[in-house]
Symmetry: C2
Subunit: 331 residues, 2 copies
Amino acid sequence: MRALLLDGELQFVEDYPTPTPAPGEALIRVRMAGICNTDMELVRGYMHFRGVPGHEFVGVVERAPDAEAWEGRRVVGDINAACGVCATCRAGRHTHCPQRTTLGISGRDGAFAEYLTLPVANLYTVPESLSDEVAVFTEPLAAACEILEQIHVHPTDHVIVLGDGKLGLLCAQVLALTGCELTVIGRHTQKLDILTRMGIATVHVEHDAPLEGIQGADIVVEATGHPDGYATARALVRPRGIVVLKSTYHGAVEANLTMATVNEITLVGSRCGPLAAALRLLERGMVNVTALIEACYPFDAIRTAFTHAGQRGARKVLVSLAAAAPPADES
Amino acid sequence: MRALLLDGELQFVEDYPTPTPAPGEALIRVRMAGICNTDMELVRGYMHFRGVPGHEFVGVVERAPDAEAWEGRRVVGDINAACGVCATCRAGRHTHCPQRTTLGISGRDGAFAEYLTLPVANLYTVPESLSDEVAVFTEPLAAACEILEQIHVHPTDHVIVLGDGKLGLLCAQVLALTGCELTVIGRHTQKLDILTRMGIATVHVEHDAPLEGIQGADIVVEATGHPDGYATARALVRPRGIVVLKSTYHGAVEANLTMATVNEITLVGSRCGPLAAALRLLERGMVNVTALIEACYPFDAIRTAFTHAGQRGARKVLVSLAAAAPPADES
């Protein structure tokens, strides 16, 4: 099958082996995939990943153990494939299973290919009302919903989202649903305008400009994707406030943890979230994801899509495989 | 009055001006003071403090606005002197008042002197049953109690205390009261033995030795006092577990916050705590602090006391002023 292969650098290959589903897994034909900042970090060396990247997708189940229930269904999927039997899984923390593979990130080829495999337990049926272009946002929207799964955001809280990247824009929209006082701080006027049109307060800052007159938030969501986001978040949160850490990047950061101790700040690491909740929000039309689409490329132009996704200020770049893939048996 | 002055280096001075209490403040004659690791960090440049250090003390109220209620009373004190009127104070977070001074740490001369001043609102009467040597532990014990004020430690949790320093030994004793499964990891056999005799499990590790066979704790209390404690704590805590940050040190740390995000770890900065609760635990005999005393020096030997406190493995070094101080009027 055709696939984008990361092996030090990205290559588009025509003859990558179609994956074979393990017991309990489905073979899924990818219809659409999204490029995430994590994919760009993988290229920079994050997770030392070698294989097919891509973890945001919509696909159709081609083969599954329970054929009647699943085959032909349009699905999205939880990217963490857990063992299901270890102590961590039994404690309900499947996404943290130490034996897990993660689609397109660790130990499992991902969605920038004609086919992928995932356990059937990870799949969620996409409601008919949702287009592929909307449903492909389920995974990153779930990651935004994870914030509300982890901490209690009060309607009276002052919340700051730091960063107007793709994840920041989704986090902002999810946080806005709580009724909280919300300010999004970012560097890209065009992206902030998307939120402004939704009635969300935004502050535009130039690179390295000091943040004046903004401070004392109860909660700061650090979604800049940059190592320097932590220091800014710590400076903006009130004593005993919460900083939600959403950024993942390659490498460590010089962090003043003593000031977190002195100000008794709580830092909450936050990663993958509940896909079912994200699908409900999309179905109810509570989150506008189409405004976040930068471009959609055909699959054979995926390297161009990556270049586009890496441009400063780019929103979500999608890749469409819907019209192109032959049946799995023939690939 | 006689005082230990930090002005780049420590000097013992005979003619330091006796402090004048501001409105609402008491003048307190110091009877006993304890040397804390934070004092050693102040000497290294932490907080850029210049003045009289010392924040662990027992004293007698010499003068107070409500003379009848307070004068002659033996007291300990909350070291954070707050304004009482700002938004932070009104929200009940007095210890985080942005206008606060902190006894012997920031903006207010401390306890390594014959006299100190603190707001009357900060004072707690020491029960008669407690000796000065025990009561002087109220402030650090309160800092250990702060952990239970901030997070819910379940009796079924597996908790690791990292560090067998003075604060680590107090944190361990407070955590043991919850009934949790507790392991204290430290580098000093003699100090760990104090806990072993109390029925608390300990693990002795050599400097830089890898920690094998210990991991997956629900809660890790980082009380090493060293920048490298964070990485160890993060490696020992389970996904979605809690790391309590107790260490304060001069300078930043190279921290892998991405791994905290990936493992959805919660980091809780923890500083000063409830003195009333600490006094209750001491009065009930629930915490053994006398085992933590390394030595007690007369005040004029305080520089020797500092040298002793700085030795590897030293427990709490106390300084006694009880027999020495002349009345405030004469100083």
